[in-house]
């Protein structure tokens, strides 16, 4: 076992040591508390990450259905599969952000394009939702991608 010298310079008094010890102990206890909190947060983070990996597949399934040429039982079946996905999301506390016609809100939406309009009442309203958004509790895990009306100059 190797030995290193202390790098402290001036001589410490017993009270100094007690103080440092108390602080170190407190730091340790605080670390324990923080670790417990971080573990919880991490579990949520891993879960939302996992869900985010499924989202593109679910979205592509929906697009596939939109492109369907026939409205038949097979299509109905696929729609039920899509519903399974949506139920899974709901069961895991994921809410879908689909703000058609709503006011643009950058906390939940990302504007990818704007469309000009002369109608003042429509300004800042969402024209179209390009991609749904998702949130878990308060946290927006993916903002909705939208097209927003802006005032024609």
């Amino acid at each position: 076992m190797s030995q290193k010298k202390d790098k402290t310079e001036k001589k410490k008094k017993p009270e100094d040591y007690k103080n440092l010890y108390t602080r170190a102990l407190a730091d340790y206890q605080n670390l324990q508390k923080e670790t417990a909190k971080e573990k919880e947060e991490f579990a949520r983070y891993v879960k939302s990450n996992m869900i985010m990996e499924f989202i593109p597949i679910y979205e592509n399934l929906k697009i596939a259905v939109e492109h369907s040429e026939y409205d038949n039982q097979w299509l109905k079946g696929v729609e039920y599969v899509i519903k399974q996905f949506e139920d899974m999301l709901a069961n895991n506390g994921v809410q879908i952000i689909s703000p058609v016609g709503e006011d643009f809100n950058p906390t939940e939406h990302e504007a990818v394009e704007k469309v000009e309009t002369e109608d003042k009442k429509q300004v800042d309203k969402i024209v179209k939702v390009i991609k749904q958004g998702y949130k878990m509790g308060d946290k927006v895990i993916q903002p909705a991608k939208v097209i927003v009306y802006s005032l024609k100059k």
């Binding site: 790098k7 492109h67 704007k114």
Partner: protein, 643 residues
């Protein structure tokens, strides 16, 4: 006593860190991100938006969304950079005296004020994360920043309510993050390829300072240019193939951008990535799908010229510093784009040195700023440098196995204890053989000491509880104590630091452990399975002895046969054969146990318990030693007397 915040105020993105437990820790924004876009906006309703939120509404509000304000801070209106930005930026830049101002919602703001808004958000987020008020900061700036630009950055901090204790250069911060400020008399190169800019610097580390000897770069070359190449390629290829221009469709373009980003990241670790975006477009002959393979080679081909473009400034910086590549001792990589293997290869080739990229390249500058903050705060000085024990410490257990108690790299001082038991019936003493080393077999490790604990009351094997404690103090002195819980008898030994292995021996030991890892693993498994077999043979024979008359004759015979078979096989050190014989025996034992339960008609007798135990005991013994203060853990002390 609040902490000083280390801030990397970047052109495209900013990050912040503080020192915690002597280590830099990146603080996340309120939104949970480790970096914050350096963007500020004023909404139509007059609300101020900063960071991610401002970025999201940029498209709807381009005149009132200020980005890259770092390009304007501390500059004169007449500067070439300013004039260039006026032409290309969607927001208004106006002259104010000799300097510049930007227009936000018809109000003029200095770049300092805008940067202050970004700093303000970072301050607020840091306070939310740490639960403390933050009033002081260390902010990084590019090495080429003039005095005016540095002062303006300091002013920005002041406006945000932060006393800027120090402005340090970004490459210097990177060097601090790696601890290279300790490398006196060395020269360090920092290659920083960020989102929008490229900077290369040569640092000279002397006794008391880190000096920037030369700096060069390209203020309009960054990761975004790399991304664009891939996106353009995908769109062009699809157009060639399918005759559709995906850039014309908003959703398709979004999907292409996201897919390109994902592919780019994947290609840093794999040779090929597939882009799979079904139903990307519709045409008269039905839906079209974007499915294409991108190889790393292709990506490299697309961006090769961009990477090579970065080498010119490197040459110039070296020339200006008066040094040759051979005189550069360390090279540090900064910026997300440096994760790309091609970039790393070219940089390594250019400098002829191994690169330092172990600190997250997006966070290294903020980390370094916090290191400086820590030094200013006196944090770093007061922290006691703690040692770690370089090699694992443990004791010898049944079969000559080395059982660890304190793993290597454990910070000291520390104590660990574990409960062990005896290997044989009526064993009244145990020998504690203290070992140091990584090998699984005791004979391959170094003996630090031995002692015997005796006077233990006789008991069947596995019943006694002997608590062995290791206490390693800050000076490296090891105290090993063994206490028999039943009798209270205890014995201990003190091992001084010098009894262990010397520095070179430690290195040799570590290397040997690596080299022999495979065969050691085999050996350990052999021993463990033999131990397991021994235990099962023992308990099976006990079962036959105690309950043989309660068994059916053919079952008893079968059990005896299986026990004999196992006894023979286990001596051969054939792991697979022993496992099989063990399996066979367990199956028969369990069958008998079940039969005995059924015939006993509901009365759970001790014989029934032993029957099922016979089957399970084997499994239990094979378990890894676990710390369990109530149960005798299955690692037996080797005792010479018991043999």
């Amino acid at each position: 006593m609040s902490k000083i915040l280390g801030i990397d105020l970047g052109t495209t993105n900013s990050a912040m860190a503080i020192i915690e437990g002597g280590q830099p820790k990146i603080l996340e924004s309120k939104e949970g991100n480790r970096t914050t876009p350096s963007i500020v906006a004023i909404s139509k309703t007059g609300e101020r938006l900063v960071g991610q939120i401002a970025k999201r509404q940029a498209v709807t509000n381009p005149e009132n969304t200020i980005f890259a304000v770092k390009r304007l801070i501390g500059r004169k209106f007449s500067d070439e950079e300013v004039q260039r930005d006026i032409k290309t930026y969607p927001y208004k830049i106006v002259q104010s005296g000799e300097g510049v101002k930007v227009v936000l919602n018809n109000k003029e703001h200095s770049p300092e004020e805008v940067s202050a808004m970004i700093l303000g958000k970072m301050k607020a987020d840091a306070e939310a994360k740490t639960g403390e008020k933050i009033t002081e900061a260390v902010i990084t700036v590019p090495a080429y920043f003039s005095d005016a630009q540095r002062q303006a950055t300091k002013d920005a901090g002041k406006i945000a309510g932060l006393e800027v204790k120090r402005i340090i250069n970004e490459p210097t911060a990177a060097a601090l993050a790696y601890g290279f400020d300790k490398k006196k008399g060395q020269q360090v190169a920092v290659y920083d390829l960020g989102g929008g800019t490229f900077d290369v610097s040569v640092l000279d580390i002397s006794e008391d300072t880190v000096e920037v000897k030369a700096t060069n770069g390209d203020t309009h070359l960054g990761g975004e240019d790399f991304d664009k190449r891939l996106i353009d390629y995908i769109i062009a290829e699809f157009n060639k193939d399918q005759g559709i221009d995906l850039s014309k469709d908003t959703l398709a373009l979004q999907r292409v951008k996201e897919a390109a980003e994902k592919a780019k990241i994947e290609l840093s670790t794999t040779a090929e990535s597939e882009i799979n975006q079904p139903f990307i477009a519709t045409s008269d002959d039905g839906p079209k799908h974007l499915v294409m393979k991108i190889t790393r080679a292709k990506l490299e081909e697309l961006v090769m010229d961009l990477v090579e473009k970065t080498l010119e400034p490197c040459k110039k910086a070296l020339k200006d510093s008066g040094l040759k590549t051979s005189e550069i001792e360390e090279v540090i990589l900064v910026g997300g784009m440096t994760r790309m293997p091609l970039v790393q290869k070219k940089v390594e080739e250019f400098f002829g040195k191994k690169l330092n990229s172990s600190v997250n390249p997006d966070e290294v500058v903020a980390a370094g700023a916090s290191v400086q903050a820590g030094v200013l705060q006196g944090d770093v000085k007061d922290v006691l440098l703690l040692d770690v024990t370089p090699l694992t410490l443990g004791i010898e257990t049944l079969g000559g196995v080395s059982t660890p108690l304190i793993e290597r790299n454990t910070t000291i001082p520390t104590s660990k204890s574990q409960i062990f038991s005896t290997a044989a019936d009526n064993q009244t003493s145990v020998e504690i053989h203290v070992l140091q080393g990584e090998r699984p077999m005791a004979s391959d490790n170094k003996t630090l000491g031995r002692f015997i604990l005796d006077g233990m009351p006789p008991a069947p094997r596995g019943i006694p509880q002997v608590e062995v404690s290791f206490d390693l103090d800050a000076n490296g002195i090891l105290n090993v104590k063994a206490v028999d819980k039943a009798s209270g008898k205890e014995q201990h030994i003190t091992i001084t630091a010098s009894s262990g292995l010397k520095e070179e021996e430690i290195e040799k030991m570590k290397k040997e452990a690596e080299e022999h890892a495979e065969e050691d693993k085999q050996k350990k498994e052999q021993i463990e399975i033999k131990n397991q077999a021994d235990a099962v043979v023992f308990s099976s024979e006990k079962l036959i002895q105690e309950s043989g008359d309660k068994m059916k004759e053919e079952n008893k015979k079968e059990l005896e046969e299986k026990v004999e078979a196992l006894k023979k096989v286990k001596e051969n050190n054939d792991i697979e054969a022993t496992k099989k014989a063990l399996e066979d025996l367990n199956q028969v034992a369990q069958k008998i146990g079940t039969a005995m339960y059924q015939s006993a008609q509901g009365g759970a007798t001790s014989t029934d318990a032993t029957a099922s135990q016979a089957g399970q005991a084997g499994d239990k013994k094979a378990e890894e030693l676990k710390k369990d203060s109530d149960q005798p853990v299955e690692g037996e002390i080797v005792d010479d007397e018991g043999k």
